[in-house]
Amino acid sequence: MLRIILTRCLWAIPTLIVVSFISFVIIQLPPGDYVTAYVAELRRGGEYLTDTQVELMRQDFGLRDPILWQYARWITKILLHGDFGQSFHYNAPVSSLIWDRLGLTLLLSTISLVFTWGIAIPIGVYSATRQYSVVDYVVTIFGFVGKGIPEFLLALILMWVGFSWLNMDVGGLMSPEFDTAPWSIAKALNVLEHVWIPIVVLATSGAAGLIRVMRANMLDELGKPYVETAYAQGFSERQVVWNYPVRVALNPFISTVGWALPALFSGDVITAVVLNLPTTGPLLLQALKMQDMYLAGGFILILSTFTVVGTLLSDILLAWSDPRVRLG
C-alpha cells in the first residue's frame, strides 16, 4: 500500500513539471505579448508610446529573455516564495488576486460535489436495480439531458427563469447592497438566493454523468455470479445490493473522483462567467483575453495542479478500496 502511494506520488512530480511548463508556454503562445496588448489599448485611448518606450517596457518586464529562462525565474519564485509574479493589468501581485477567488471556487465546487454524489449514487443504484421502471426512465432521460445541455446554457436558462418568472435578483454572489455590509441573516439569505443557480448548474452536469456511470457499473455488476452467490446466502435484496455490487461498482467510480473536481473547475469557469461570480473563471477569461500572462499562467498552473493532485488522490483511494489493485 505504502509502495503504491509512493510510486504514484513520484509519478505526479514529472507530470507537475510538464504541466507547469505547458501552462507557461500556453501564455507565451500568442504572437505579441502583454506590451502589445497594452500599447493597443493605449492607442485606442488616443495615447501613443515611442518604440524606445515600448522596448524599455519589455525589458522591464523581462520579456526579452529566453523562454526557458523566463520559465525558470517564474517557477523558482513560485516554489520558493509563493510569488506568482505581477499582474500587468491590475498592477498587483498575482497571488493577491488569485487566492480569494480560488477559495470561493473551491467552496462552490466542493458543495456541488457533495450534492452531486449525494444525488448520483443512490439514484444510480436505484435505477439499476429497477431497470425499465418509470424511475429508471426518468433518470435515464435526466442523464441524457444533463449531458447534452452545456453548463452555460443551463446557467442562462436558470437565470432567465429566476429573473423573469421568479422575480429574483440573479447574477453575482449577492445583491450589490450587501457587498460591503457585515454578515447578517439577511445577507446570508441573499447569498443563498444567488448561490443556488451555480450549485444547481454544477451539480446537474456532474450528477448526470455520474448517474450514468453508476447505473452502467451497477448493471454490469448486478449480472455477475457473485451477486447470485450473495442471494444464495440468504441476504435480503438491500443487503446484497449495498454490500456487494455497490462496493464493486464504486471502484471505477472512485477512480474518476480525481477528475470530478477539475471537471467542476472547468464547469465553474464558464458558469461563473455567465453568472458573473467572483470566482476564478471570469478573471481567467479576462487574463487570457488581455494576455496578462502571469495571471493567466498562475491560474492554469493552480487548476492543473489540483487536477494532478486529484488524480493522485483517486489512485490512492482506488488502491485502498479495491484489493485487486492493492494486492496486484
Binding site: T15, V18, V19, I22, S23, I26, I27, L29, P30, P31, G32, F144, V145, K147, G148, I149, P150, E151, F152, L153, L156, I157, M159, W160, F163, S164, V170, G171, A216, L219, D220, W259, P262, A263, F265, S266, G267, V269, I270, V273, V274, L284, L285, L288, K289, Q291, A296, F299, I300, L303, S304, F306, T307, V308, T311
Partner: protein, 365 residues
C-alpha cells in the same frame, strides 16, 4: 482468390446486415439518425432554406418576436402570417409589436438575396418568404440588430455542425494512430503513450482550451481560426478515441484469426490493415459518433466566451453570445433557440452513438 474474397464479402455483408438489424431496434437512435441527417441537409442548403442572409440588418425590426405561420383560418388555408404593427412605448422607449388583422400570405420559391451555389454559380431562389414592405418573415424572431434568427441559425449550423465533424476527423487520425500503435506494439511504446494520454487527461480541459484559443490572434482569417479551433478541440479529445482503439487492439490481438494470420506469415502492416482494422470499424464509428457532441459543445462554449469564432462568422456559440445579456434574454427569450438547437443535436448524437455501440457489440451491456 476470387472465391475467398467473395466468401469474405458475403461474410462482412451479413455481419453488417446483422448490425443494421440490431441498430434498427433502437428507436431513439433511428429517430436521431433521421434528425441529424435532416440537420446536416438543412445546413448544406442553408442559403436556399433561409429566407434572408445571416447578416442582413434591419434597424426598424429589432427584437421582433417569432411569427406563427397559420394554416387554419376557420378552415384549411394557404399559409399566412398576420401583419405586425410597430409601436414605441413612450415611457420605457421600448419597441413592441402588435398583431393586426391583416394577413400576409407566405410565398414559396421566392426571389431574394443572391447566394453562391457551391461555387458553381449564383441563385436568388429561396424556399419561402413574404411580400411585405415593412415586415419580414421571422420564424424565430429577430435579434437586437433586426437580423433574422432563423436564417442565422441555419447558417450557424454550417459552422457548428461541420466543426464537430472536422474536429472528430482530426481526433480520429490522432487517436487511431496512437491507439493502434499503443495497442499493437504494447510494452514501452504502450506505456509511453499511456502516460501521454494520462497527462493530457489530467489537464483541466476548459482552461486549456481557453488558453490555446486565446492564443489565436484576432486578426487572422476566420476560416483559419475555425480550422485551428477544431484542431485545438481535437488535440484534447483524441485520447478517449485512442483508448477505445487500444482496448480493441489488445483484445483482438489475442484472438485466433490474428494468430492464424501471423502463423501464416502475414506482415505486421498487413495484419493491422487487413484483419484488425476492419474488425474494429464499428466500434470506432460508435466512439466517433459519441465524440462529435463533445466537439460541438466545445466550439459552442469557446465561441460563447468570445475565445473561439468571432462575428461576422456565424456559429451557434457566436449566436448565443447575444444571449449573454440577461436583459436581452428577458426581453427576447427566442435568442436562446440556438441553445435549444445545440441541446437537440448533442442529444441526437449521443443517442445515435449509443445505438451504434450496442449494435456493434451484440454481447455488450
Amino acid at each position: 482468390m476470387t472465391d475467398t474474397s467473395r466468401a469474405e464479402s458475403h461474410f462482412t455483408a451479413s455481419a453488417r446486415t446483422l448490425m443494421w438489424r440490431r441498430f434498427r431496434k433502437h428507436r431513439l437512435a433511428v429517430v436521431s439518425l433521421v434528425f441529424l441527417v435532416a440537420c446536416y441537409l438543412a445546413a448544406l442548403f442553408a442559403p436556399f432554406l433561409a429566407p434572408y442572409p445571416p447578416d442582413k440588418i434591419e434597424k426598424l425590426q429589432t427584437f421582433v418576436p417569432p411569427q406563427m405561420v397559420h394554416i387554419w383560418d376557420g378552415g384549411p388555408a394557404w399559409p399566412f402570417v398576420y401583419e405586425l404593427k410597430r409601436t414605441r412605448n413612450a415611457e420605457t422607449a421600448r419597441v413592441t409589436y402588435e398583431q393586426t388583422d391583416k394577413k400576409i400570405p407566405v410565398q414559396f420559391f421566392v426571389r431574394g438575396a443572391e447566394w453562391s451555389v457551391f461555387g458553381l454559380g449564383t441563385s436568388d431562389l429561396h424556399l419561402f418568404g413574404i411580400e411585405a414592405k415593412k415586415q419580414k418573415l421571422n420564424l424565430l424572431g429577430t435579434d437586437s440588430l433586426g437580423q433574422d434568427v432563423f436564417s442565422r441559425l441555419l447558417y450557424g449550423a454550417r459552422v457548428t455542425l461541420s466543426a464537430g465533424l472536422v474536429g472528430v476527423a482530426f481526433a480520429f487520425v490522432l487517436g487511431l494512430t496512437m491507439g493502434a500503435i499503443s495497442g499493437y506494439y504494447g510494452g514501452r511504446v504502450d506505456t509511453a503513450i499511456q502516460r501521454l494520454m494520462e497527462f493530457i487527461r489530467s489537464v483541466p480541459t476548459i482552461p486549456l482550451w481557453m488558453g490555446l484559443a486565446a492564443a489565436l490572434p484576432i486578426e487572422w482569417d476566420p476560416l483559419f481560426v475555425y480550422v485551428l479551433i477544431t484542431l485545438i478541440l481535437a488535440l484534447i479529445s483524441w485520447t478517449s478515441l485512442a483508448r477505445v482503439v487500444r482496448g480493441r487492439f489488445l483484445s483482438l490481438k489475442s484472438e485466433d484469426y490474428v494468430l492464424a494470420a501471423r502463423l501464416s506469415g502475414a506482415s505486421q502492416t498487413r495484419i493491422i490493415t487487413r484483419h484488425m482494422l476492419p474488425a474494429m470499424t464499428s466500434y470506432i464509428i460508435a466512439a466517433m459518433t459519441l465524440a462529435v457532441p463533445e466537439m460541438i459543445l466545445g466550439e459552442t462554449a469557446l465561441s460563447f466566451l468570445g475565445l473561439g469564432l468571432r462575428p461576422p462568422v456565424v456559429s451557434w456559440g457566436v449566436l448565443l453570445q447575444d444571449a449573454q445579456n440577461l436583459r436581452s434574454v428577458a426581453l427576447a427569450p427566442w435568442l436562446l433557440t440556438p441553445g435549444l438547437a445545440v441541446v437537440l443535436v448533442v442529444l441526437a448524437f449521443n443517442f445515435l452513438g449509443d445505438g451504434l455501440r450496442d449494435a456493434a457489440d451484440p454481447y455488450g451491456q
